[in-house]
Symmetry: C2
Subunit: 554 residues, 2 copies
């Protein structure tokens, strides 16, 4: 792949064709700028995997060219892969104060010190070699979120990050419309824009709407109020606190990540809590129910979260009681619908009233809907357009929106992770592909769990395992101990003694056949045993456990 001197290249390593692990590279000559380094939570078929990060091989192979990482905001799907990047490449990081605060805490957890972290403000510009990066304020579901413009000799590339166009943001910091207009007026070569909500018609409601709903709910609730939301949604938490103060309620913050995030946001000045508002969760019983708000983790129904433990009466300090109102101020992330539904059911069973769902106004999205996406396209009118941050259908819908606004189809690229898009002043197109994909993190292992291990986990999970052990005399080849059969996850052994005894008999027969045939190769013996057993067990149970013959020689 030839890197031309008068072209600029964008290479997505994550976030295209998927929601999560966002990572975009912009390369000009020998300078690579990374925008975001996020993680993704594993889909359910990735059994046992903790997190998924982008395959950064291309970055590692070009480590001397990587000049900076620019981070749009502090969500996990934008910062979560940073520790894995920084372990390999020492490169300066740029982000707003809150973003850097979150990154600092994360690096500390990973035991990484000495990272070169730099705080920037909206409208700041920094130089990265021959490139200039400019930061622009947008609104999102976490404060201090940025879009990023990269000015190059070829032209300007605008990366919107995640955004919505909130006209009445809680912190009063409106999207920098004028800067976007200015960029549009000067001419943007390529725009990369957030597609998460490209399927949603209309406008995304303002975060302020949730504040109004809280006000209305707090006004009529007579018992305790328990609010759960994403721990990073600082404005949401702020609104809960404001409303609590208005109605003379104390606030207890519960759940590790909620406490951590409130602390970071408070230290850095992103959340304002009047003196005397916070109370220790251990002391909530000192206050009457109608003077309490509990802000807690658990909005995704996570089994170990504080809210779930409250709902199952397993939380140390808080039990749900009749009269409680629980506000689920979040939407289930795809895949979590059932967990959230189960939590709601349990809360109802404990006697709580539960406020949830899109019709109630207790949650709004952090991403632009179709009309906002159109505004962005029309403000910028880029020469080239690439929808980013979305599954394939989102990218496709976003591309169609842009086309309907008059961006020629030939200048819109629906691309995938790893594709290299070459952009010149008059011409652009996909010119190749670099290594890309997902790297699975399981415990301390990064990338060591591959398809074989996952396939084994899959088989183990569905029908369990049967282990057959025989000890054989090395010289004579005769069986001197066993066959012993041990199984896990297959049948409940105590109730299946006969099955196991018959299985042992099948193994004996298979071994005998081998002996008669003079088959002495382990591999051949094992495969005979496996076949005989597999056939027998499938006939008897219609299950296909993993069968693992082990031969010991003495």
């Amino acid at each position: 792949m030839l890197i031309e001197l008068d072209r600029i290249y964008v290479i997505p390593l994550g976030g295209l064709g998927e929601i999560g692990k966002n990572m975009m590279l912009v390369r000009y000559q020998d300078n690579i700028v990374v925008i975001d380094a996020g993680l993704m939570f594993p889909e359910e078929e990735l059994l046992g995997i903790d997190i998924v990060i982008p395959d950064m091989t291309y970055l590692f192979e070009n480590r001397d060219k990587v000049k900076a990482v620019l981070v749009t905001h502090g969500h996990e799907d934008h910062v979560g892969a940073l520790p894995y990047l920084l372990r390999e490449i020492d490169v300066p990081i740029y982000g707003t104060k809150l973003t850097i605060g979150i990154i600092e805490a994360k690096l500390r957890e990973h035991g990484l010190t000495g990272a070169r972290l730099n705080i920037v403000k909206p409208r700041d510009k920094i130089n990265v070699g021959p490139l200039e990066a400019e930061f622009i304020r947008v609104s999102h579901s976490i404060p201090d979120t940025l879009a990023i413009a990269i000015h190059s000799p070829v032209g300007t590339i605008l990366h919107t990050g995640d955004f919505k166009l909130d006209q009445t943001p809680v912190d009063g910091e409106v999207v920098d419309f004028r800067k976007f207009a200015e960029l549009g007026e000067k001419g943007v070569l390529l725009m990369l824009s957030d597609s998460t909500n490209a399927e949603r018609p209309g406008y995304t409601m303002s975060e302020r709407v949730v504040g109004n709903t809280f006000d209305e709910l707090f006004g009529r609730c007579e018992g305790r109020i328990i609010i759960t939301t994403f721990a990073s949604n600082v404005h949401r938490i702020q609104q809960a606190i404001n409303t609590a103060c208005k109605y003379n309620r104390k606030v207890a913050v519960v759940g590790r990540s909620m406490i951590n995030n409130v602390n970071i946001a408070r230290e850095l000045g992103y959340i304002a809590i009047p003196e005397g508002t916070l109370v220790d969760v251990e002391l909530i019983n000192r206050y009457p129910d109608n003077q309490l708000v509990i802000v807690t983790t658990g909005s995704q129904g996570e089994p170990m979260s504080a809210l779930t433990r409250m709902a199952t009466a397993e939380h140390r300090w808080v039990s749900i009681q009749p009269g409680d109102t629980v506000i689920i101020s979040a939407t289930p992330i795809p895949g979590n619908e059932k967990l959230v539904a189960r939590t709601i059911d349990m809360l109802y069973k404990q006697g709580a009233e539960v406020v949830y769902g899109p019709a109630t106004g207790v949650h709004v999205s952090g991403h632009a809907s179709q009309e906002e996406l159109k505004i962005m396209v029309n403000l910028i009118r880029p020469r080239y357009f690439i929808p980013i941050h979305g599954e394939y259908r989102h990218l496709k819908k976003h591309a169609r929106l842009a086309e309907n606004l008059g961006i020629p189809r030939s200048r819109i690229f629906v691309v995938e992770n790893g594709q290299v898009i070459e952009v010149g002043r008059k011409k652009a197109g996909v010119i190749g592909k670099v290594t890309s994909g997902r790297v699975l993190v399981d415990g301390l292992g990064v990338g060591d769990v591959g398809n074989i291990v996952l396939r084994d986990r899959k088989q183990l999970s569905s029908d369990g395992i049967i282990i057959v052990v025989v000890t054989i005399n090395k010289e004579t080849g005769t069986v001197i101990a066993g066959p012993d059969i041990v199984s896990r996850g297959f049948v409940y052994v105590r109730e299946s003694e006969q099955l196991i005894e018959e299985a042992r008999e099948k193994v004996r027969e298979a071994l005998l056949v081998c002996e008669k045939k003079g088959a002495t190769e382990w591999a051949s013996i094992k495969s005979h045993v496996r076949e005989a057993l597999s056939k027998y067990l499938y006939e008897k149970t219609k299950r296909r456990p993993m069968i693992l013959p082990i031969i010991m020689e003495v």
Copy 2:
């Protein structure tokens, strides 16, 4: 639990606090009538389980009292447990023609013959001992659906089954409003009513709406049209066929369950297909794209379904091509959202246009929304009310609806599976509990997979297994072969040779310690080995595979 002579009892064995495995018992003296015997598809944490059925212990213990099974309609969650019930109890089954047709096919698959199947029509009445059952037409997403009234000396119990109030059903067979009105007028002691959509405000749209959408789509599509829906949604399929005929398109039916259902429905007269409309899927290439409709399974994104295989270019006869329009005429069942989304993405990637989602009018629900539920309550005005068929929050919302309509709260019971509700003319209440719950079916095993097996599968699925084998001299207690270590689903062994070698060393050390201590009990040796290995592996990998020490004696 005392069964009083002048009381009637209802005992839900499934479908309350859950969506699926519906089963309701009505007991009067020594007569038990069963309404529905359904299955449920397993939630994802039930690793390897095929289906879930109600625990029918109470029925089996009272087998001589079980007089009839009345089936409201032919969906799996109403008929799927019948084979397991009939295997134990020989009892007559009553249902409409289509329902019995579906049951017949199902029993055949299970190799069950000689079942006493009886076809009834709406407004038919049958006697079951001192009870009289009356069948009433309702609309739903499968034809020939019934509500059932049980007339007893104590009073009438009305079970709505699954229903919606479709004013313009495709087959012209409107809900029997007059019969419901008559029952209400005469007085219903207890109503049990479908809560599936109790969270939805307004009315559920008529099935006819989908026909209009099809008409509009067919009118403008120039390529092939591929429609996927539930195979049991006979009216939907009929509408697809009608619209195809109108636009001079041939129809190919694809997917095993779709073909089976169309055949049953056609044989029994529930679907009308004009001569020359159907074409063999193998011959579709003989027709121009704009003269073809393919009706297929796969509406839930099931990995092995016809549509998914088309989307991944693995279907034998149909590959998706640019110009195709795929209509997803179904809604994802909770838990299937991601599979469906993935299928849509793949279809787009192959170049198809995809029509999906609630805004497009290509699907309507088969269950009554809040306004319809209110109509049912107001038509009947029962003395007692029990919401059925729904997760806990649905039951709760439905109860509240009824309360808002003036049914006193003291006469509404939100109950759980297994609870026994005693109903007298003047008094009703929960008086006890019978055995209830879920029975897991895995292959041929019914109920043999319990918590221990599932817990093992869970551990195996997340971190795999390590097997340690040693052969020990029976007399001296010294190790004469091994320790050998085999692992599956833990790490990729070829890349982890050092880890495994060190693990073996840890086992050797543990065995040595045991030998020195004179520990000769297997249990004690195993637990030492397990502990040492577990600690070492967690330190090195932060994973907790199952550790299985096996000792062979020679």
